[in-house]
Point group: C2
Chain length 360, copies 2
């Protein structure tokens, strides 16, 4: 049943792009990581330990444990590439890169708690490992540290960059609020969640931070407004595509790679794009899926597998793959409009393509 | 057993000052409230409802319910007075006042949850009324909105003001972390909490935001660095005195006025200044108090009353009152050093005096 997002998305061969994307991420992490570690090192030691765990740098006891639990550093890389794409050195984006990585980690800490998610990247979620209160406090610390890092970056564009980050944070929180409220909406009927509403939540929960990352890198480098705006828009579309791929992986992804249980989003009754699209179809598979989701008993492996098959048969996979394709294309259109320097633009293109073909 | 802080602190008659303080708070709330309501009005409606409840403006259903549950607006008033004291109109401090009131409300939302406090100003704490996740999210929203409000204030001093607020936020979080860790410390022995450590936590948990409020008002108004620094220091001392009065009220305050149960801090085994001082005394009352606190059964009314009597007999009340006096005097010394305009300086003096004589 499970597949990689690449197989799910069924695009052409991308081996060269994948290698370039990996090397871009590695290079950007190398640029950003020392400053990120320095910022985290200023935290209260106890909070710093929780932050180190949430960043995937150490285990719950604080022992360094680099590996699969560390994030890809996508947002930091987008900030670096945003600067390079407008002709500035990647180093100029480091405060922006640190800020967006901290915001991302803060939001994972608090969202996992709110969503009741007990695992993250194959490990116990921080709120389960350290307790609710400490996880809330560590999130607060990273939130504050993110803005502080950018506010102390200096330079003529720093105040505008801080305003952009603050606007992003308020939008992120509103997006998370709407996401939590989706839980209480019915699966079908006039109160069901229409695709455009789901897309708007995805843009605010995921897209605004990717857009902010790209835009901040360019903004700190003094790029013209049109380029900054185009990069912001590209990131928002990318976020919608990213969420669509997440939704595909959440149902059809390989648990060994995603670190999430088989059909995890289906078991939890999570309202994701594939399920909403499949239920809107109304055919026999759609109705059988609705009946499975309507049961009060928790889904076993067999039922979750059946639900995934039905969601695919009712068009949920295809609709979500189309959504991802469409917004990936829209992101590419915006990047072309931003008139970027060719080499970093190719890096960005490779990175974006790889997000579509990721398996975790 | 219960007394007002005024009676506990045993200062001279202050009727005129109390009236002046009340009128200062009312005037400042009148200045700040419309902008605060406007800022809260930009939040996601669901989050706005939780924020309205946390601010004491409405009940849990969102119905306006002004009254005793509303905060005094102390931090906003300090920002306004900080501006007026350096010769600027109070209006110039409104973004600072809104920001510090939002930070205060954010910290109450998250701290009540972390501390397990189920009531706040005589009502159910927000995390019990709305759930943990929503309370975390509402706190995040107010945190972000606070910085955004100040970042969008404009003016030449806005970036420095944002940096000050960010530094305050990181210190507040570290102070809360240390406060949570105090819980796990023993009551006596070499690992017991010494007074200077308790004071440092009080400064970071309470003092920095009061100092920030006073300093931000002056800073946005373009005051010289020496005045801004003196105001910041005054606020920090004020915060230590404020916490000492809080500790007195938490044991000897009138539950009808504080909205907290009789001897609440003693029942919860909270490490406060009076108890730490009483236990450090080592005499017979001190030893009896230690025995009561060491019991695993929850304290009934009679035991809590006995513990309060013992804490007073062992010098806990006097030591804490002295601490409050000392830091109130230190705050006054800093205010004199700041060379403030006389009329707003008198307002500040009245307000500070009233904090010492408050009963809730």
């Amino acid at each position: 049943m499970t597949r990689s997002a690449g197989a799910v998305a069924a695009e052409g061969p991308v081996a060269a792009d994948a290698a370039r994307a990996r090397s871009v991420l590695t290079r950007c992490r190398g640029l950003v990581r020392p400053a990120l570690a320095e910022a985290v090192g200023t935290l209260h030691p106890w909070i710093g330990r929780i932050a180190g765990y949430a960043l995937g740098w150490s285990d719950a006891a604080g022992t360094p444990a680099p590996g699969a639990s560390e994030g890809k550093g996508l947002r930091g890389a987008l900030a670096v590439l945003g600067a390079e794409a407008v002709g500035a050195p990647g180093e100029s984006a480091i405060p922006a890169a640190v800020a967006v990585e901290l915001v991302h980690t803060f939001s994972l800490l608090h969202d996992d708690l709110m969503d009741g998610d007990t695992t993250r990247r194959g490990r116990t979620a921080a709120w389960r490992a350290f307790g609710t209160g400490p996880a809330v406090l560590a999130g607060d610390a990273l939130h504050a540290l993110a803005v502080r890092t950018l506010a102390e970056a200096g330079g003529p564009a720093s105040p505008a960059a801080v305003r952009r980050l603050c606007a992003t944070l308020t939008t992120l929180v509103a997006g998370q609020a709407d996401d939590l409220l989706l839980e209480h909406r019915p699966w079908a009927g006039p109160e069901a969640v229409p695709p455009e509403e789901y897309r708007s939540v995805a843009e605010r929960k995921t897209g605004v931070l990717l857009g902010c990352a790209l835009a901040l890198g360019a903004e700190l480098a003094g790029a013209p407004d049109e380029s900054v705006t185009a990069l912001d828009r590209a990131g928002r579309h990318l976020g919608i595509a990213f969420q669509a791929v997440d939704d595909l992986l959440g149902i059809w992804g390989d648990p060994a790679l995603t670190g999430k249980p088989v059909g995890g989003d289906l078991r939890r009754g999570k309202k994701t794009r594939p399920v909403l699209a499949a239920l809107a179809d109304g055919g026999p598979e759609s109705r059988e899926l609705a009946a499975l989701l309507g049961r009060s008993a928790p889904m076993d492996d067999r039922t979750a597998a059946r639900a995934a098959t039905l969601a695919e048969a009712a068009g949920g996979l295809a609709a979500t793959r189309d959504e991802a394709h469409r917004h990936l294309e829209a992101a590419r259109t915006q990047l072309r409009a931003a008139r970027l320097h060719p080499a970093p633009a190719r890096d960005l293109e490779a990175l974006i393509g790889s997000l579509f073909h990721r398996s975790r």
